[in-house]
Each structure stands twice: as structure tokens, then as C-alpha cells.
């Protein structure tokens, strides 16, 4: 249960085309993350799968059945919203039981499933509270609980962690990943945060302007981005993109090199002066003005005695260079 196939899915609002022909197969049990900048259509795509928006054309099938025209309730999917969307007038228990109540499940069965979900999510002490009496993380867990009890074919998450503070976000991220390992149910997760995408996904779908730029595992995208957009979007800090003479030397229009793939060397090919210098303890991020190349970000170890104005010599790792043509497409081989 839980294979989702999109073919030629399109969506326009008025005259504006938001989703421009998406083909995607999400196998059963996979954790897929839709990632992209705001306005790229990732949330719209999720809402199309959920049935909260109608497709303009194309088909969506769930477990081999055409679900394009089915209302949300008939698709067997559960969704967790950014704003949690809990029912404020109902207790946690009633919130979690709501989908069961709508499905006409007996009261005893409802209670049994609510207790089971509450146990998994550590919500048992809070079952009689109202959502307003819970913290952000607890609310998000209630929303997940409401999704779990339905035993859906797939879970849809729409930026579920963006309302939480940084520390809570990390722990909830891990909780959701663990939940996926326990349930082994298909999960589709929308985020604009590439760190969330990298850490949680089996496969990442990078979207831009309503189109898929690339689909692959986090490390595939990191190692071999298909184009400049993916190269710039995946990885933190961002990949350095160099144009001009230095790129032409390698037979490319644009040359890409990640900050962690540039070493400080005694006698490297690039010479420059350190500008901004950020010591994080574990890492040091440097902005170096390299002669004939431009400004380059590099990431080196924590213990480097460098300061603003220090002269350095840099050596990019030759096998980690990425080459792109004038259209921004990756050239093969990369080096």
C-alpha cells in the first residue's frame, strides 16, 4: 500500500501555470522530500496529491487506482499541516479520534487506537488537554497522531516544522525519521530547508518554477547535481560558482566547487586574501578574494590561525570540480 504515480500533472491558477507537467513515481514505503525555493510549486504539488486542489490536467494514481478526481477523504492519505490545523474546541483525545469518528469506528476501537498513537508520540498525559494548552512541539505531535490513527496509504507533510524553534526542529526531525522507520509507510515531505531534505529523505525531488530539476538520493544530488540550480540549492554552505577564464580553462562555461573541497595549500594554484573569517569551533568558514577568480567561500578545519587580511594559497580538489555549460546543464564527465 502506498505507491503514488504522477503523470504529466499540471496546474494553473487563472492564466498562471504553477505546476508544469510533473512525472514522478514514488514507490511504496519511500520517504520523499519535495524541496525548492518559495513559490516553486512544492506545496501546490502536495495539495494536488492530497486532493485539496484539482489538477488542470494529468493523472495521479494511488496504489494503481486513478485518484485524480477523488475527493481528499477517499484517497486514503493523511496530511500534517504547517499550522498544525488542530480543532481548537476539541481535546487532544478528540482531535486524534476525529478521523476514526468520521469513519464510523466504534468508541472502544477509537479509544484503543488513540491510546496506541498517544503512546508512540508521548502524548498520553495530555489527552484531556485542549490544543491551546500545548507547546508547539506537542501540537505538532497531536497533528501527527491524528494522521497515524487513520493508517493511511501515505503521509503528506507540508512544512511541518517551520513554526518550531531551531532546537525543537532538530528533535522533531529525528522523531519523524524514526516514525518512518517504525511504520515503513510512504511519506511525502515538503520543505524549503535543504538540511531537512538532506537528513530525512530517501529521495529528494528538487523543484523550481513548477518543474522537477532533479530527483535522487541526497548524496547523488550532492555529488552530481544535474544543473546549476541543484548545485546551488543543495549543500550548505553553497557551492562556489566561477565563470570566465578559470572556467574556460576546464572547458566549461561555469565551474563549480564546494567550499569543503578546497584545501589550504603551501603552493596551490589560487592565491588570495582572506576577507570574512567565521570560526565555529568545529569548522572555519572563510571568504577569500582570489586573484583572477573572484570571491570564493571555503570551509576548513576548526583550528586554523587565519584572520582578515592573511594571504593564503588554495588548492581545489581536482576530482570534485563540477562543470556546467552555457545553459547551466552539468557536463559529463564532471572534470
Amino acid at each position: 500500500m502506498g505507491e503514488i504515480v504522477l503523470s504529466e500533472v499540471r496546474k494553473s491558477f487563472g492564466g498562471v501555470s504553477i505546476i508544469q507537467g510533473i512525472d514522478l513515481v514514488i514507490p511504496e514505503g519511500e520517504f520523499v522530500v519535495f524541496v525548492g525555493p518559495s513559490g516553486c510549486g512544492k506545496s501546490t504539488l502536495l495539495r494536488l496529491i492530497a486532493g485539496l486542489e484539482d489538477t488542470s490536467s494529468g493523472t495521479i494514481s494511488i496504489d494503481g487506482k486513478d485518484a485524480t478526481k477523488l475527493p481528499p477523504a477517499k484517497r486514503g492519505l493523511a496530511m500534517v499541516f504547517q499550522s498544525y490545523a488542530l480543532y481548537p474546541h476539541m481535546s487532544v483525545r478528540k482531535n486524534i479520534a476525529f478521523p476514526l469518528r468520521m469513519a464510523g469506528v466504534s468508541a472502544e476501537e477509537q479509544e484503543r487506537k488513540v491510546q496506541a498513537a498517544a503512546k508512540v508520540l508521548n502524548l498520553t498525559p495530555y489527552l484531556d488537554r485542549k490544543p491551546s494548552q500545548l507547546s508547539g512541539g506537542q501540537r505538532q505531535r497531536v497533528a501527527i497522531g491524528r494522521a497515524i490513527v487513520r493508517e493511511p496509504a501515505a503521509f503528506l507533510f507540508d512544512e511541518p516544522l517551520s513554526n518550531l524553534d531551531a532546537a525543537l526542529r532538530v528533535s522533531m526531525r529525528q522523531e519523524i525519521s524514526e516514525l518512518h522507520h517504525t511504520l515503513r509507510t510512504t511519506m511525502i515531505y515538503v520543505t524549503h530547508d535543504q538540511v531537512e531534505a538532506m537528513t530525512m529523505a530517501d529521495r529528494i525531488v528538487v523543484l523550481n518554477a513548477g518543474r522537477i530539476e532533479q530527483v535522487g538520493s541526497p548524496l547523488e544530488l550532492y555529488r552530481s547535481p544535474a544543473n546549476l540550480f541543484v548545485a546551488g540549492f543543495i549543500g550548505s554552505p553553497k557551492m562556489n560558482l566561477i565563470e570566465g577564464a578559470e572556467a574556460q580553462k576546464h572547458g566549461a562555461h561555469t565551474l563549480g566547487i564546494r567550499p569543503e573541497h578546497i584545501d589550504l595549500a603551501e603552493d596551490g594554484p589560487w592565491k588570495g586574501t582572506v576577507g570574512l573569517c567565521e570560526h565555529l569551533g568545529s569548522d572555519t568558514f572563510l571568504k577569500v578574494e582570489v586573484e583572477g577568480v573572484g570571491q570564493i567561500n571555503i570551509r576548513v578545519g576548526g583550528d586554523v590561525p587565519l584572520r582578515h587580511g592573511t594571504r593564503v594559497s588554495l588548492a581545489p580538489q581536482a576530482d570534485k570540480l563540477h562543470r556546467f555549460d552555457t545553459a547551466g546543464k552539468a557536463l559529463v564527465p564532471a572534470v
Partner: protein, 276 residues
């Protein structure tokens, strides 16, 4: 940071607020006091505020001359009837405008409200003729229909602004959870909108209770509510201030008591959407 307010300034503002409140309340207080005066005392050019011979004779006369309870009952039926009928029409209308708006929803709302800008007398003749020809003149049914139509734009607007405050995602969550349209409205929207529906109901009962243009022009004896009851004491042959005041006091007392007990709801309804 809270703004520092000096004690003197605070006292001055408090005094001013009391002053304005008393100024607004004074006519009602004066009517109330006059209703206990004799007719002679009531038109005295040097009226006394509290030190006069208190009498209940005006109330006795008013009760003898007209049937207060019949008018009261008409007012109750007309104001409650028109409000409930209005809500039945307005809830689905406001729901669709708030959650499935079309291109022209805003225009439609403005157009509905614009009907309130038209002077009522502008449509008096056509409405009067329609009421006459359909046999609805001087009937409670006729007044319920007219007052429903008159207040409908306000009911729809109030409910619309209230529903707009309910996040659409909650209704979408209900849809994802398998709720049909009717269970979505019954179990999710309505419980969340109860305070808004209550303030709309209260405000419209008050508006309908106090409405005097249509109630005076479309009724004679059978369906006349309390507004007509008051008006019957302002006769061209000469005013009887004390009796008029007694009638007014009796007419406004029920709605003032209702208003007093539902202040919180009313203020919430009137200032709705102002603070978010």
C-alpha cells in the same frame, strides 16, 4: 514597552470617559425619571432632577390605554423571527463567500452592503404596494420578511468576517480526515463560530427590536411592535411627556436588560476584526 501615564492624566481621562458616557446615557435616564413624574411636573420649565412626587400613574394609564403585552409579543416575534431567518440564509452564504470565494465575491459583498446606504424611504412605496397586494400588510410574517431583508447584508457581513478568521487549513484538515461537507460544517465550523454567530444574533435582535421605519409604516394594529406602541403616545393633539416616557421606558427595558447581560458578546461582535 508600556507607555508611562501620569496619575493626573489618568484621572483626567477617566473623568472624560465618565462624562461622555453620562452624556450618552442622560436622555435614557431623563426619560426614565420623567416616566415617574406627573404631566405637570414633566413640562415644568424648571424641572427637578430627583426631588419630585414620584408616581406610577403614567404606567397605570399606559397599561389601561394599550395592550403592552401584545406589542411586546409582536416585537419578540418580529426581531427573533427576522434574525433566525436571516441566519439560516446567511450562514451558508457567508460560508461560501469565506471559503470558496469567486472572482466577484468582494463586489457582491460591497453591493449587498450598498443597499444599506439607500435611504429606506426610497423603496417605501414599492414595498408598501407589494405588501398590500400580497396581503402581508400589518402582519408579523410581512414584517419578519422585510426586516430579514433589511438586516441580511449586516448578518452576512458579520458572519463573513467571522468565518474569514477561521483558518482554512482546519477545514481542509477535516476534509482530509474524511469529514463530509455537512460534518465539516456541523462538527468543525459551527463549534468554532459559535461566539460569532451569538454576537451576530444579539446585535440583529437589537437592530430589529429598535427598527422603527418599516415597523411604523407597514403596520396598523395587528402586527404593531413596541416601536409603534411608543409612537402612539406622540400625538398631534399635544404631547403627554410623562406617558410617552413611561411607554418608552417599558419598550426599551427588555432590550436594555438583554444588552446589559450580553455586553461581552456585543462588544466582541461590534469590534470584531478590529484587533488581530
Amino acid at each position: 514597552m508600556a507607555r508611562e501615564v501620569s496619575k493626573g492624566r489618568k484621572a483626567a481621562v477617566t473623568l472624560l470617559a465618565w462624562g461622555v458616557a453620562l452624556l450618552i446615557f442622560f436622555p435614557i435616564l431623563w426619560t426614565f425619571l420623567t416616566s415617574f413624574k406627573t404631566e405637570g411636573e414633566a413640562i415644568n420649565s424648571h424641572p427637578s432632577f430627583l426631588f419630585f412626587d414620584w408616581t406610577l400613574e403614567n404606567y397605570e394609564t399606559v397599561n389601561q390605554r394599550s395592550d403592552y403585552l401584545a406589542h411586546f409579543w409582536n416585537s419578540v416575534v418580529i426581531s427573533l423571527g427576522s434574525t433566525v431567518l436571516g441566519l439560516i440564509i446567511a450562514v451558508p452564504a457567508a460560508w461560501s463567500m469565506a471559503f470558496v470565494p469567486g472572482k466577484r465575491t468582494k463586489d457582491l459583498l460591497m453591493w449587498m452592503l450598498s443597499t444599506k446606504m439607500l435611504p429606506a424611504v426610497g423603496v417605501l412605496v414599492p414595498l408598501y404596494l407589494l405588501a398590500r397586494d400580497t396581503g402581508l400588510l400589518d402582519t408579523k410574517t410581512g414584517l419578519v420578511i422585510v426586516l430579514t431583508l433589511v438586516n441580511l447584508p449586516i448578518i452576512v457581513w458579520m458572519l463573513y468576517t467571522y468565518f474569514k478568521e477561521i483558518p482554512g487549513e482546519i477545514l481542509e484538515a477535516a476534509r482530509m480526515d474524511g469529514a463530509t461537507l455537512s460534518s465539516e460544517i456541523l462538527y468543525v465550523l459551527t463549534p468554532m463560530a459559535v461566539p460569532g454567530i451569538a454576537s451576530t444574533l444579539l446585535l440583529n435582535v437589537i437592530l430589529a427590536w429598535n427598527e422603527s421605519f418599516w415597523t411604523l409604516n407597514l403596520t396598523a394594529a395587528n402586527a404593531a411592535p413596541l416601536t409603534a406602541f411608543i409612537a402612539s403616545y406622540s400625538s398631534p393633539e399635544g404631547l403627554f411627556y410623562a406617558k410617552l416616557s413611561a411607554a418608552s421606558t417599558m419598550a426599551i427595558a427588555p432590550i436594555m436588560i438583554l444588552g446589559w447581560f450580553s455586553q461581552k458578546q456585543l462588544v466582541r461582535g461590534l469590534t470584531f476584526g478590529a484587533v488581530k
